[in-house]
Symmetry: C2
Subunit: 321 residues, 2 copies
């Protein structure tokens, strides 16, 4: 279906990929995989959305559609590799995929979710990547009532992690290096703040957490966080793709703990998250920008100077043209 | 109860602790936590075993008995710290605990398992540590029929991992640096061998395993093994207590994978394992030694020159006395 893009969230990975921080970037590149828009045209077999509906597109626009993960609806984990919304190639072709910093996108309905009009649409955009990246592990590791859950790092991902974990009825602890951010986390719904630089507080919190959502986007030492986990506690890594500082084996053994990774989530789960957000009135905290401001926004994002997600009003693209 | 020790397995950790490789060793030290003996005296409240029964003592001889893990029967994960069979202190005392390289041990029945006479008793001793250390994670991560399971490293732990995983009906792959050990793994019941130095074979095996039991006892790079795991596959670390080489976050995310640790197992599970061994006729491959040979045995163990566990015939201690 063809979608007129209304809003496009600015993800930290846009900056990484535009600057080829991870290698293998394909140019020309149009970043953006947090897309909210209006359906303007549908093919004759499309049943999910109709013209005029609000549509969301996230990080994936295609996959092999026949491997076990695809059959299980986990297209992001496609064994042949999913097709990223941008900085990828269309399947069986050398044609590049282009993302949401644009006026339009054409996508198969399988990779589109329905956005209810009741939500603040500009603040929905970041849910399509930051949202599902935090919602999916919270669900996969079965976070819920009676659990003490730590959200490590307060940024685009972390602030949504706090909102989701709270809505899932967990006791939510914001774990941050910054007491200031801690205060803001309380506003977002956290029950407690644990300042990770406070060694006494960290020691006191040892072996008390059921689950940790680690949103730190760069290489770091996870050992002090692992020690916070109770027996059979788990830490999900959603930010750091690069090598972590050495994990001490003992920290995983006594008590038995685990660390896992998670990459966004399935299309089915993305729709479930949008519906969950509609029910709990959850959206991202956003700062709106014009397309013309993107370089400044990237610089500010690099310095963690945004509360908590930039979103581009794509109307600005048309006014500039 | 009071137990006359018949056999004492020689665990790699005996050497580490005797030489203070991990720091904090307490001397004088009597190593040994793979103990099989005969009950010679019981207190009036003892119901589990009677005089003449064959008893097993593993790595733990006491715990707080009131924390959540203890209440769940997971004494090894006692929140106040369990009391190790040797190189520890008796609870509420400065009296050191002494292990199985001895003629007798006195232990509370809670920390003793019953050994059926039908098993080869000298080859049972290593089950009390090496056995439960491999059995427990295979059960915890629900290894079974229809799964492809890799056992990484063929030593005291690995050779029992192969036997258990096979008895649990998994498709078992021995992952080793040594093609020679690979051949021996087939004798032990492995269905396949994957030589980890063979880059083409490792690449071909990418994302095909459900579970990996990593028995490598030293710091190493787990990334090449992580890449072998399918979506939602897990690696359990049971050997390396020291810092691992940096784990690349991406390897945990695409696809979603996890790495966890595991330390021996509960007393209940240890009894379950012994019963499982009786049912499937599983014991350790052992090389018997006299107490007088321990230094040579440790040197050979250090060089991985034992197939697959030394066991001390404790009668040798009496003959020496």
């Amino acid at each position: 279906m063809q979608i007129d893009i209304l809003y496009s969230g600015v993800c930290h990975s846009d900056l990484h990929q535009a600057r080829d921080d991870w290698g293998g970037s394909l140019y020309p590149m149009v970043p953006g995989h947090e897309i909210v828009g209006r359906v303007v045209k549908v093919g004759e077999h499309v049943t999910k959305l109709k013209v005029g509906d609000i549509a969301g597109v996230g990080t994936v626009v295609d996959s092999c559609r026949h491997c076990d993960p695809c059959n299980a609806g986990l297209e992001i984990y496609c064994e042949e590799g999913c097709t990223p919304t941008y900085n990828g190639k269309e399947r069986g072709s050398d044609k590049l995929t282009f993302g949401g910093y644009s006026d339009q996108i054409v996508t198969d309905e399988r990779f589109v979710v329905t956005i209810p009009n009741t939500l603040d649409l500009k603040a929905v955009a970041p849910l399509l990547c930051a949202g599902i990246t935090t919602y999916s592990p919270l669900r996969h590791w079965k976070v819920g009532k009676g659990q003490k859950v730590g959200i490590i790092g307060l940024g685009g991902l972390g602030h949504l992690g706090v909102k989701f974990a709270k809505a899932l009825d967990a006791h939510v602890v914001m774990i941050t290096t910054s007491p200031d951010k801690g205060k803001d986390a309380l506003r977002l719904g956290a029950d407690e703040v644990l300042v990770s630089k406070d060694k006494a507080a960290m020691a006191k919190a040892k072996a008390t957490f059921h689950f940790l959502l680690n949103t730190i986007p760069v290489s770091h030492d996870v050992n002090p966080y692992l020690e916070l986990l109770k027996l059979d506690g788990a830490m999900a890594l959603v930010g750091a793709l690069t090598p972590l500082e050495p994990i001490v084996g003992f920290n995983l053994m006594l008590p038995r703990r685990s660390i896992g990774g998670s990459a966004t989530g399935s299309m089915k789960e993305t729709q479930e998250m949008i519906d969950f957000c509609a029910m709990h009135n959850i959206v991202s905290d956003v700062e709106m920008i014009q397309m013309q401001d993107i370089n400044t926004a990237w610089e500010r994002m690099r310095k963690n100077d945004v509360r908590y997600r930039f979103v581009i009003d794509m109307a600005s693209l048309k006014s500039a043209a």
